[in-house]
Subunit: 222 residues, 2 copies
Amino acid sequence: MRDAEPASKAKRARHGVSTRDRLIAVALKLFTERGPDRVTTAQIADAAGINEGNLYYYFKTKQALVLVIFDRFEAEVDRLLESPRRDSADPAAYATFLREWFEIVWSYRFLYRDFMSLLATAPELRRRIRAISARLRAPVKTLMGHMRAAGLIAISDEELDALLANVWIVSTYWVVYLDVQEGVRALKKAHLEWGIKQVSSLFTPYLTPLAREWLDAQAATT
Amino acid sequence: MRDAEPASKAKRARHGVSTRDRLIAVALKLFTERGPDRVTTAQIADAAGINEGNLYYYFKTKQALVLVIFDRFEAEVDRLLESPRRDSADPAAYATFLREWFEIVWSYRFLYRDFMSLLATAPELRRRIRAISARLRAPVKTLMGHMRAAGLIAISDEELDALLANVWIVSTYWVVYLDVQEGVRALKKAHLEWGIKQVSSLFTPYLTPLAREWLDAQAATT
DNA sequence: GTCTATAATCAGATAGAC
DNA sequence: GTCTATCTGATTATAGAC
C-alpha cells in the first residue's frame, strides 16, 4: 500500500481532485516534458497551484514523489497482466494487449527515457523495472508459442528468441525514439498506430498463409 | 574546427597525453558510468588529476565539455560515412558497416541514454543528433535497395520502410537496453555480437535462397 | 492543510597568485 | 598551465505561524 491516501480526508478544492492527486498528475506531466532532473519542487508546487512548503507536507522528499508515480506505473502493468485474455492464441487478443501496453509506455515514458537520473536517487528502480520487464515478457513468449502451435507463425526456436528480444526493444523504445529523435511531443493516435505497426511488422514475415487469410478477413470486416 | 587544440603546445605530463585530452577521456568515462548530470566538474578534474579551477582553463563551461565530446562522436560517424564501401550490395560490406556503427554507439551511448539531460543545457543537440541519424539512414536505405536489386532479399516497399525503422530503433537502443534493463556495464565482445545478431535477425526472414546459400558458404569459410 | 520564512547544501563558475 | 580561494545562484528541505 505505498500509494495509500493520508488517513484524513483530502480536500478537493479544485476540479474535485485532491491536492495529493493533483501533485502527482502535475509532476508526471512536468517530468515527461522536461525530465525529472530539470523540474524543481518549486515548479511542481507552482503548477499545482500550491506553495512549495505545502508540497513537502504530502511528499517528504522529491524522490518519494517519483516512487509514487512508479507505483502507479507498476499498478497499471499489474492490471494489464491480470486481464484474462493472455492465454489465448487469438491474434486479436495480442493486438489488444499490445495497444494497452503501448498506452502505458507512452504515459510513463519518462521512466525509460530518463532512467539514469532516476537510478541515481532511487537505485531500487533498476530491480523494479527489470522485474516488470521479466513479468511482461513471460506472457508474450507464451502467446508467441501458442501462435506457433496454432499454425499462425512459422518460426524456429532460435528465431523466436531473437524475435522476442526485438519485440521487447521496439515496444519499449519506439516511444523514446519518437520523442528524442523525431521530436514528437504529444501522443496522437497516429503515433500509437505507428508503434503498433512497427511491432506488428516484426511478425509479418513469419505469418503463415492461414494467419494472412485471417488478417485479410479481419481487415475486410473493419 | 570546434575540437581544435589550444594555440600553445599542450603539456603531456602524464601518460604522454595532453591535459585537455585527458579531461575529455575522463569526462566521457564518467558520463557513461553515471550520466552527465550526476558527474560534477570537481569529480572530472579530480579523476583527471588536476584542480577544478584548472578545468575551467580548458573548458569555460561544463556544456563546452559535452559539446566537444559530441564533436568527436560526429567525427567518428563522418569517418564511417566517408569510408568507401557503402555503395556495395555485398552483405559483407554491410556487416562491417554495422559493426563499426555499433562500436561507436557503444562508446558514446550516454548521448542516447541521457539525451534529455543534455538537451536541457544544449538544445542544439536535438538538431545535430537528428542530422546524424538522417545521414546514416540514407546509405542504409540505399544498401537495402541494392540488396533487393541483387536478389538477396525479397521485400515489398512498405515492408522495407518498416524494416528500416526497426533496424534504426534496434541498432540505436540495443545498447541502452543492455545497459538499463540488463545491467550490462562493460562491453564484452559477446554483447557486440548480440546486438549485431539482433539486427541481422530483422533481415533473416526476408533473405532469398540465393542469399542463404551465400551466407552458408561464408559460414563454412570462417 | 496551507502558508511564509529560512536553513543547508552544493554545483558551476571566476579572480588572481604562483 | 596550474593552483587556492571565493562567489553566486539554484534547489532541496525544515520550522513554525496561521
